[in-house]
């Protein structure tokens, strides 16, 4: 599945199989008016196929990956490891969206250089706090890329 938001410049990849979470994320991006394109992949295989194709092409890496750990077909950790091994997109910023609070998951996420471990809340307002985080990450991303190096 693939949704795209018009008039976008940044590319955000969302790996999520729960339609509610996809809905909420899309909503908060819309509500906050974040200027981006959202690409949704709903299972591990899809995202890996996408990443493999990306790695082989000259296309730009996405600006941000939002990802659940618990996704069908293969685990988010595997996907994360794949990303970190990627030659072209190894440095990609990743935010984990998860309902797991398992210490092992947190440790693994930290080890794999996850930017933010966002515990999926049961409260909508809490959920909306993801918006500012996204905005900040994208802002940093843009500045890092365009800034002098």
């Amino acid at each position: 599945m693939r949704w795209m938001l018009p008039n976008s410049s940044a590319n955000i990849v969302l790996v999520e199989d729960n339609p509610l979470d996809i809905f909420v994320v899309r909503n908060l991006i819309e509500e906050l008016g974040i200027n981006c394109r959202l690409h949704v992949y709903s299972d591990g295989e899809e995202i890996l196929t996408y990443l493999a194709a990306l790695d082989a092409s000259d296309d730009h890496c996405p600006d941000l990956v939002l990802m659940d750990i618990n996704i069908p077909k293969c685990s988010g950790t595997e996907v994360l490891q794949w990303i970190r091994k990627s030659v072209r997109c190894g440095e990609l910023p990743v935010i984990l969206l998860t309902s797991s609070d398992r210490p092992r998951d947190r440790e693994q996420a930290e080890r794999l250089g996850v930017l933010y471990y966002f515990r999926k809340p049961t409260d909508l307002d809490e959920y909306m706090k993801l918006g500012p985080i996204l905005r900040q990450v994208l802002a940093n991303r843009c500045c890092n890329e365009s800034g002098p190096s």
């Binding site: 729960n18 309902s99 609070d101 210490p103 947190r106 999926k120 049961t122 409260d123």
Partner: protein, 1191 residues
């Protein structure tokens, strides 16, 4: 041509442009033609097709291979192209072969002809041709089909379907492609005759037509096959793998099917077949879907299996070889290596494919590694087999010196490329031993050179290997090593002056007969003509197995003794002469008359003027005898005055007017009267003074010789069995605890020095050595009591020689070497004792106890081993114990054991051991090296302890814990998801449609969302609670409590701000607690403090830590509502809430329970001190461990 699928173009048709395509054929014909074509296409063998006029119409690869013509060369030509010119009849006639074929055609039968065929390169090949008539639809013979097989090869098959060369005058040629194209015939013939199993089949895999070969391969009759499906021909075990393949083909997804699989014959026999199928895609006849071919490849498979087996054997051999081995490809990359080569590569991961020069340079450094690499490359280029000398170099990575022997060979791989195989053996130890040996040999030679006696050594063949300066002096020449044999001397003579060949000399005998040769006396003539008498002491040198490896000989110069003996012989001769002439005096003593009568000689001996009546008073004799000898002589005389007595006495006399004394030997007999009374004695006197003096002179010389022996450090005992004396060198005497050695020691005295318990054995062995029938060898270890009371062990070895050439005829004699064995015996004794002790200890242990030699060869097992395994020692010895280790555990165990054997490090592993009843049980295997004085491992000592129950318990526990944990997480996650969905949808609903709802509806919605959220919290907390008791054995990382607190406060920022609270703290320590746990603790306690606040004042929370003896005491103090005393213990219980649902203090009631469980896991405590209305202080302790103290 466009009307035809391109893959069949040249079947049954001339090449494009050479002939018109067939026209107007029926669909069936075309199908048949496709079917035949498919045979051609999918067959690896040769099929050609044709024209009736003898013109070749089709020519496939098989024919091309057999006859050498390409299809475009053969098609359109006459079949006579293949007939040697000499067989082609002139004009229009037909050859014999053609007539035979003609007969087959006219009779409509198949048959076989042998013929010679001519190939394109003008070779004549003998072929066996199976000829079948081809008939058209109407039954008319239109030609022949030929299957040619090269006669001398048998296996190679070429099917040539050619037009017959029917004599034109006999037949009306049917030059009609259409007729010919009714290739049904062709198809049938090829089908029937092909040695390949063939069938056509329907889309569902049902077999339609089968040929004879297929019947033979499968063992089914054609009718039976007709009821079967393709899949049924596959062996049940292969069906699963084959089905997917076959179905892909049948469904059209795959254009070709090919598989090697097993086939189960009707009779149950298993055959390997190569099965192929091609579709008949153009078929209008939908029932015929494809063509299947079956080659029987059982023989090949068997051969392959054998090859694999042999290769397996080979690789097993390679793996078990005592040499390391690895293989490099022609790009210098590692291809393969065996187990012994593992240590070489242990630093390199991965090894396979790695550049070998890189490895070499890393191991040996640039220079040496580069040198070795050059050698390798030379072998790779030239193929020259390279064998190294010993190669000793410090390996860069180990800092140890290792010596290798290696060789390189070039291999040619199946793909034609070169590879290098490198064999090497670590000969460090042999090389070191060799150095040690050389060193020992050098020291031995130095010692020999320092000896004052002439000594030389030889090899097994008697060639001189070494001699000392004394030997050069003795021989009067410098021998040549490796040339001189048996002796250092120039010429040898026997004592009687006859020449003695070197090959018969005592040394030669010693080496040839493998015994010590003692007591010989030989004369050596120097180049300058002087002669030396000597006694050699040659003895063979044996290695530890008893084989003779050389000899050693010591030559004692006895020239002086010989000269003395010569002199003695002369003086003895004089004495004898004197005696015979006049020196025997005769005396008579009449007891009754008390008169003594001497002859004149007697007076001469005594130096007295003869009396007139030649009688003397007894006093005359008594006065002459030396006072010290007189009493003894009188006593002896009294004793012999009895009937038939005889005696021989020696005594000394003094002659009037002479200095010194004379020695007299007196012999006498007794005469009795008729009554048997002794009446008188008759005797002789001989002056033996000169003789005695000569003997004494000899004694002096011998003593001097013996001193010489003492100087060379030999403890020797020379036994004179006749005199019953033994001559000891000083060293030997000392060993026996005897003093002066100047005089010969009576054997009785020597025996008296020996421990009484050993005397019987000594005399037994002595007698055995004296048995002239035996080898004369004497050898015994016996004990000699020392004055201190302890025992000395003495070993005596030697040989009795009979019939020596000694002057005085002392024979037999023995020269014995005497060795002090006390130290060795003591060592042996203590070894035996300690072994006994060890064995007793080992046998009493409940574990399996074992011990190995330094190289890992196990030579000791305790009793428990035999009990447990049910095997005897012989089946465990060495490395045979590996047979009782579970095959899955052996590689790991073996690897670790090898590492320990190499490094000497303690060994520890776990493995399953097979019990006598076949049951495997887990053991903890441990071994420790025992180091010798030079820090080298001398032995390994190990125990294997049964930990089966323990291990199982641990395993079960670990599994249970893991299962539980994963269950808890899965459950919580799965429970969370739907709750989150309900809560979030509820909120979204309220947000989007709230304006359309009345307040009651909104209230319901809120209640629903809150309930669900509380449920979600509850699950999270429950999970945390189960986690709190589950601490892995991992090390406890240290965390600064202060930084943990800062993070907690960040998390609680919103609550703190909302409550206008103030949270303060003292300096906090670093503690050994996982950060997440400390975080949890502080967060729970602080948020509780903020939650249970008083309405009246803003909350104040203070966190502090105080060091107590072995623990830190943390406290979290608040000014909240406090807890009534009766509830202060209950607050830590799970689900204990003091406040009703719906009140502002509500929670899940798990927080403090988690805190308690967490802190207890760290062996800490948690409690609360509180007064209702005055706030609470929660305390918890964290033990201080040593690392904390150190900081």
């Amino acid at each position: 041509m466009s009307g035809y699928p391109n893959h069949n173009e040249n079947f049954l048709m001339p090449e494009a442009g050479q002939s018109a395509p067939p026209k107007g054929r029926s669909g069936t014909d075309r199908d048949q033609s496709w079917l035949s074509a498919a045979i051609v296409d999918s067959s690896a063998d040769a099929i050609v097709a044709t024209d009736l006029l003898g013109t070749i119409l089709n020519w496939n690869d098989g024919a091309a291979r057999l006859f050498g013509y390409r299809a475009e060369e053969a098609i359109g030509q006459s079949i006579r192209l293949l007939v040697p010119p000499e067989q082609i009849p002139p004009l229009e006639g037909s050859s014999e072969e053609e007539q035979t074929r003609f007969r087959f055609q006219t009779e409509g039968q198949s048959g076989r002809v042998e013929a010679i065929r001519l190939t394109k390169d003008q070779r004549r090949i003998a072929v066996s041709i199976t000829v079948s008539p081809l008939k058209d639809r109407h039954g008319r013979v239109i030609g022949t089909a030929e299957i040619s097989r090269e006669a001398n090869e048998g296996g190679v098959l070429g099917i040539a379907v050619s037009a017959s060369t029917i004599p034109r005058e006999s037949f009306q040629p049917v030059a009609n492609y259409e007729e010919l194209g009714s290739s049904e015939q062709l198809h049938r013939v090829a089908f029937a005759l092909a040695p390949i199993g063939m069938c056509s089949f329907a889309p569902d895999g049902r077999l339609l037509e089968v040929n004879e070969s297929l019947c033979q391969i499968t063992g089914y009759a054609a009718a039976e096959l007709g009821r079967m499906r393709l899949a049924e021909l596959t062996h049940p075990d292969d069906q699963a793998g084959d089905a997917a393949h076959l179905n892909m083909f049948l469904s059209g997804a795959a254009s070709i099917y090919a598989n090697e699989k097993r086939l189960l014959r009707k009779d149950g026999e298993v055959r390997w077949v190569s099965a192929r199928a091609t579709p008949l895609t153009s078929s209008f006849n939908l029932t015929e879907f494809g063509l299947g071919l079956f080659f029987d490849i059982s023989d090949r498979k068997r051969a392959e299996a054998q090859l694999v087996e042999r290769e397996g054997l080979l690789s097993a051999l390679v793996e078990q070889a005592s040499t390391g081995m690895y293989v490099l490809d022609d790009q210098f990359r590692v291809l393969h290596f065996n187990a012994l080569a593992v240590p070489v590569f242990e630093r390199f991961q991965p090894v396979i494919g790695r550049d070998f020069q890189e490895i070499l340079e890393s191991l040996w450094g640039l220079q040496v590694g580069g040198e070795i690499a050059r050698i390798f490359r030379r072998t790779l280029e030239t193929g020259k087999h390279y064998v190294s000398r010993n190669f000793t170099e410090s390996r860069a990575n180990l800092g140890v010196e290792q010596t290798y022997e290696w060789e390189i060979q070039r291999l040619t791989l199946p793909n034609g490329k070169f590879a290098l195989v490198f064999y090497f053996a670590d000969v460090t130890e042999p090389a070191q031993l060799n150095r040690l040996l050389i060193e020992n040999e050098r020291r031995f030679r130095d010692m020999i050179d320092a000896l004052p006696a002439a000594v030389y050594t030889t090899d097994r063949q008697g060639y001189l290997t070494h001699f000392n300066p004394a030997a050069v002096a003795l021989a009067g020449r410098t021998p040549e090593l490796g040339t001189d044999r048996w002796c250092v001397s120039w010429k040898l003579l026997l004592p009687d002056g006859t020449p003695l060949a070197h090959k018969d000399c005592p040394m030669a005998i010693a080496l040839q007969e493998g015994r010590i040769v003692h007591g010989a006396e030989v004369i050596l003539e120097r180049p300058d003509g002087t002669r030396i008498w000597f006694t050699p002491f040659p003895s063979p040198i044996r290695d530890s197995t008893g084989g003779i490896v050389g000899g050693i000989n010591m030559l004692l110069d006895i020239t002086d003794r010989k000269k003395a003996e010569e002199a003695l012989r002369e003086s003895q001769a004089h004495a004898r002469l004197a005696t015979e002439a006049s020196a025997v005096g005769i005396w008579e003593w009449n007891l009754a008359a008390e008169t003594i009568r001497w002859d004149r000689v007697m007076f001469g001996i005594y130096g007295i003027e003869p009396t007139e009546d030649l009688t003397i008073p007894r006093s005359t004799w008594r006065n002459a005898v030396l006072a010290e000898d007189l009493a003894g002589q009188e006593q002896r005389l009294k004793e012999i005055i009895r009937p038939n007595a005889q005696s021989a006495r020696e005594f000394r006399i003094r002659r009037p007017g002479e200095e010194g004394f004379r020695i007299i030997r007196s012999m006498n007999t007794v005469r009795t009267n008729a009554q048997g009374e002794v009446q008188w004695l008759l005797g002789t006197n001989v002056d033996i003074t000169e003789q005695k003096r000569a003997e004494q002179a000899l004694q002096v010389i011998e003593t001097r010789l013996r001193l010489g022996m003492d100087m060379v450090g030999l403890a020797l005992a020379e036994v004179d069995y006749v005199a019953e004396t033994v001559q000891l060198t000083d060293d030997a005497a000392r060993l026996f605890g005897l003093g002066d050695t100047a005089m010969a020691t009576p054997l009785k005295v020597l025996v008296g020095a020996i421990h009484p318990d050993d005397r019987d054995e000594l005399s037994r062995r002595n007698e055995a050595a004296l048995d002239p029938a035996g080898d004369g060898l004497f050898s015994m270890d016996f004990r000699v009591p020392r004055p201190s009371g302890d025992l000395r062990w003495v070993r005596v070895r030697g040989q009795v020689s009979f019939g020596g050439t000694d002057l005085v005829g002392r024979s037999p004699r023995a020269v014995l070497a005497v060795l002090d064995m006390t130290t060795e015996k003591a060592a042996e004794d203590s070894l035996r004792a300690s072994e006994t002790r060890f064995r007793q200890l080992a046998d009493s242990m409940p574990q399996l106890v074992w011990s190995t030699q330094a190289d890992g060869f196990t030579d000791l097992y305790n009793h428990e081993w035999f009990e447990y395994t049910g095997l005897p020692y012989e089946e465990l010895e060495g490395v045979k114990w590996t047979a009782v280790i579970h095959p899955d555990d052996l590689p790991g165990l073996g690897e670790r054991w090898r590492i320990s054997l190499r490094s000497g490090e303690q060994f520890e592993s776990e493995a399953r051991y097979r019990r006598f009843d076949g049951v495997y049980r887990w053991f903890l295997v441990r071994a420790r090296a025992v180091f010798g004085e030079d820090d080298r491992v001398v032995r390994w000592f190990g125990t294997s302890t049964d930990i089966h129950e323990q291990k199982h318990f641990e395993d079960d526990l670990r599994r249970a814990n893991r299962d539980l944990e994963s269950f808890a997480f899965t459950a919580s996650h799965d429970l969370q998801e739907p709750l989150r969905n309900v809560a979030l949808y509820g909120q979204l609903f309220r947000k989007r449609y709230g304006s359309e709802l009345d307040t009651t509806a909104i209230q319901y919605l809120d209640c629903m969302v809150e309930g669900v959220q509380r449920m979600s919290e509850l699950i999270t907390d429950l999970l945390a609670y189960t986690q709190a008791g589950n601490l892995d054995a991992e090390t406890r990382p240290r965390v600064a409590a202060e930084s943990a607190l800062v993070k907690v406060l960040v998390d609680l920022q919103a609550v703190v701000t909302k409550n206008q609270a103030s949270v303060t703290h003292d300096p906090l320590p670093v503690v050994s607690v996982q950060e997440i746990h400390l975080h949890q603790l502080l967060q729970n306690l602080i948020s509780n403090a903020l939650k249970y606040r008083k309405e009246s004042e803003s909350p104040r929370v203070h966190i502090s830590a105080v060091r107590q003896e072995q623990e830190w005491l943390f406290s979290v103090k608040d000014n909240g509502i406090g807890i009534a005393p009766e509830y202060q213990n209950q607050v830590f219980g799970i689900f204990k809430r003091l406040h009703v649902k719906g009140s502002k203090y509500e929670g899940t009631g798990i927080g403090l329970a988690i805190c308690q469980k967490t802190i207890e896991r760290y062996d800490g405590r948690i409690w609360v001190e509180s007064k209702l209305g005055e706030g609470s202080t929660f305390y918890f302790t964290v033990p201080i461990n040593e690392v904390d103290v150190a900081e």
